[in-house]
């Protein structure tokens, strides 16, 4: 397994996709945090915490995981990958772990950067800034969400092999289906995989709503359940699939 993991991480490092997604997530997060910190009239301690927690990397990490797995079919590299590592479930497991690690790394880079920039801007304006303990609390929650979303993305990409369909479908769920659920049945929406459960982990209201969030522990378990579901479905499909 360690060999598979090492190879997957090397794959991630040897294309521009990961760097491009880090850059995009960082740029978007910095833009939002910078503008909000600089232009908002008054920010409460809660507002600042929410600002640093919403690092905007979740979606990018989800897409990274989808591309990492569905991309094997898109570029038809899956045959070579399975030839080199014919143990298909272990291969899928290694991808899940490596994209979880990549997600955590991406989130670490973005969260630490926006915390530094945001804190500097708020300090200059004489606004309230979070203490170190709160920053650490926000950081680990962001890293956990990022790792879980990276793993979930691999599961989605393993089940829906058409990369475009997988990405468009995930965006539709995240930006259309889940917001609709939040509006209509928030008690169900908080279990949703892309925003509902993650909002319970970071303890920030998804989509600005005020639903009764899941506790962080339950939210993590819910996310692990989603990952297990997609992993099982993708694994069953991958095992049976003839690579012709």
């Amino acid at each position: 397994m360690s060999v598979l993991l090492e190879a997957e991480l090397l794959k991630l490092r040897t294309t521009r996709t990961f760097a491009a997604l880090v850059g995009a997530a960082l740029a978007l997060s910095l833009l939002v945090v910078g503008l909000t910190s600089a232009l908002s009239d008054t920010l409460t301690r809660s507002d600042v915490n929410s600002l640093f927690a919403a690092d905007f990397t979740g979606l990018f990490i989800l897409l990274l995981g989808i591309m990492g797995m569905a991309g094997e079919w898109r570029h038809r590299t899956i045959t070579g990958t399975v030839l080199a590592a014919p143990w298909r479930l272990r291969l899928l497991g290694a991808k899940v772990l490596s994209y979880a690690a990549a997600g955590a790394l991406l989130s670490l880079i973005v969260t630490v950067t926006i915390m530094l920039v945001g804190t500097v801007i708020l300090s200059i304006r004489g606004e309230v800034t979070p203490d170190a303990a709160k920053l650490v609390d926000i950081l680990w929650r962001n890293l956990v969400v990022a790792a879980l979303l990276g793993a979930l993305g691999v599961g989605i990409g393993g089940l829906i092999r058409n990369q475009v369909v997988a990405i468009v479908g995930t965006l539709a769920v995240s930006f259309v289906l889940e917001p609709t659920l939040f509006a209509l049945v928030p008690e169900v929406a908080r279990f949703a995989p892309t925003q509902g459960a993650p909002s319970g982990i970071v303890q920030v209201d998804a989509l600005g709503g005020t639903i009764d969030r899941l506790s962080a522990g339950v939210a993590v378990l819910v996310m692990l359940g989603w990952i297990a579901l997609f992993f099982a479905a993708a694994g069953a499909r991958l095992r049976r699939f003839d690579l012709v």
């Binding site: 040897t14 294309t15 570029h75 045959t79 070579g80 399975v82 030839l83 014919p86 003839d242």
Partner: protein
């Protein structure tokens, strides 16, 4: 136990029987041509051998083990498949680095195989800029990374120019000369005839012949003789009486399953004067065409 053993292998895709009870071996130190027209089931057989396709029945093993049972598959078997693909944004060197990690091969093998396939100069270019021939060389480099005892090449000359084809022939001969087993599939007999020792011929998923090139396609087991005489009708009756198949062939006769010496003896016994007696050698292509029935699916 042969390095590669295929036993009663069958594969069905829905209503299509792609491979039907195929049995053959690949021996060490020999290059085996796996021949058949397009759609004959060659690629399906190779993919079943490599664990990419699940057989409906039968087995395909390397030294008695299925591909996925090999501890380090790429150290045992190197494979180049017809649609070898690479991530377009990754360089050749990085592709090989990943493959070396997966196969637990020493990193220095990367440079060694890049040299071997003459890609060192382009190793740090992204694969999306590669020609088809360069991609094929990269696929071969990947297969050679683990210095495997078995090399499987599916239509390996696709995309190669004439010097590339000559290079490929030399490569498979070198590999076999080191005692390794090589299985090369092709639908073009002419491209492999110069480099193979043994052949396995299939059509419509079924075995049509196996053995040495001479045995299967050289007419070695089925001699044919052209003969012309002063009394063809009498000679034909005499030959038929001795069990030879005789066909009218232009102004003379074509005797199937008989050498010129055998025909000469019959003519002597019958006191028929011969005006022409020639062994007809079928061309390899002709024999191949006859064996496969010129079939495609």
């Amino acid at each position: 136990m042969a390095p590669v053993e295929v036993r009663e292998l069958s594969k069905r895709f829905g209503h299509v029987q792609a491979v039907k009870q195929l049995t053959f071996d690949v021996r060490p130190g020999r290059v085996t041509g796996f021949l058949g027209p397009n759609g004959a089931g060659k690629s399906t057989t190779l993919r079943a051998l490599l664990g990419l396709v699940r057989p409906t029945a039968g087995t395909a093993t390397f030294d008695g083990r299925r591909y996925e049972e090999l501890e380090r598959p790429s150290a045992h078997v190197g494979a180049v498949l017809e649609d070898a693909s690479f991530h377009p944004g990754r360089t050749a060197r990085n592709h090989l680095r990943v493959a070396a990690v997966l196969g637990c091969h020493p990193p220095e093998r990367v440079d060694a195989v890049l040299d071997e396939v003459d890609l060192s100069g382009a190793a740090d270019r992204r694969v999306k800029g590669y020609s088809m021939g360069m991609r094929q060389r990269l696929a071969i480099a990947t297969a050679l990374l683990g210095d495997p005892a078995v090399l499987i090449l599916d239509e390996p000359t696709n995309g190669l120019d004439p010097p590339g084809i000559a290079w490929m022939r030399a490569l498979v001969r070198r590999h076999a000369a080191r005692g390794h087993a090589v299985l090369v599939s092709s639908h073009l007999l002419a491209e492999v005839a110069q480099s193979v020792d043994d052949v396995v011929v299939i059509a419509r998923g079924e075995l049509r012949g196996r053995g040495t090139l001479q045995e299967v396609l050289g007419g070695g087991g089925s001699p044919t003789t052209e003969v012309r005489s002063q009394d063809d009708a009498r000679l034909a009756r005499a030959l038929a009486a001795r069990g030879h198949a005789v066909q009218r062939d232009g102004d003379g006769l074509l005797v199937l399953g008989a050498t010129p010496e055998q025909v000469g003896v019959v003519a002597g016994d019958e006191r028929v004067y011969l005006t022409r007696l020639t062994a007809r050698s079928r061309s390899l292509e002709q024999a191949f065409f006859e064996l496969t029935g010129g079939e495609t699916r």
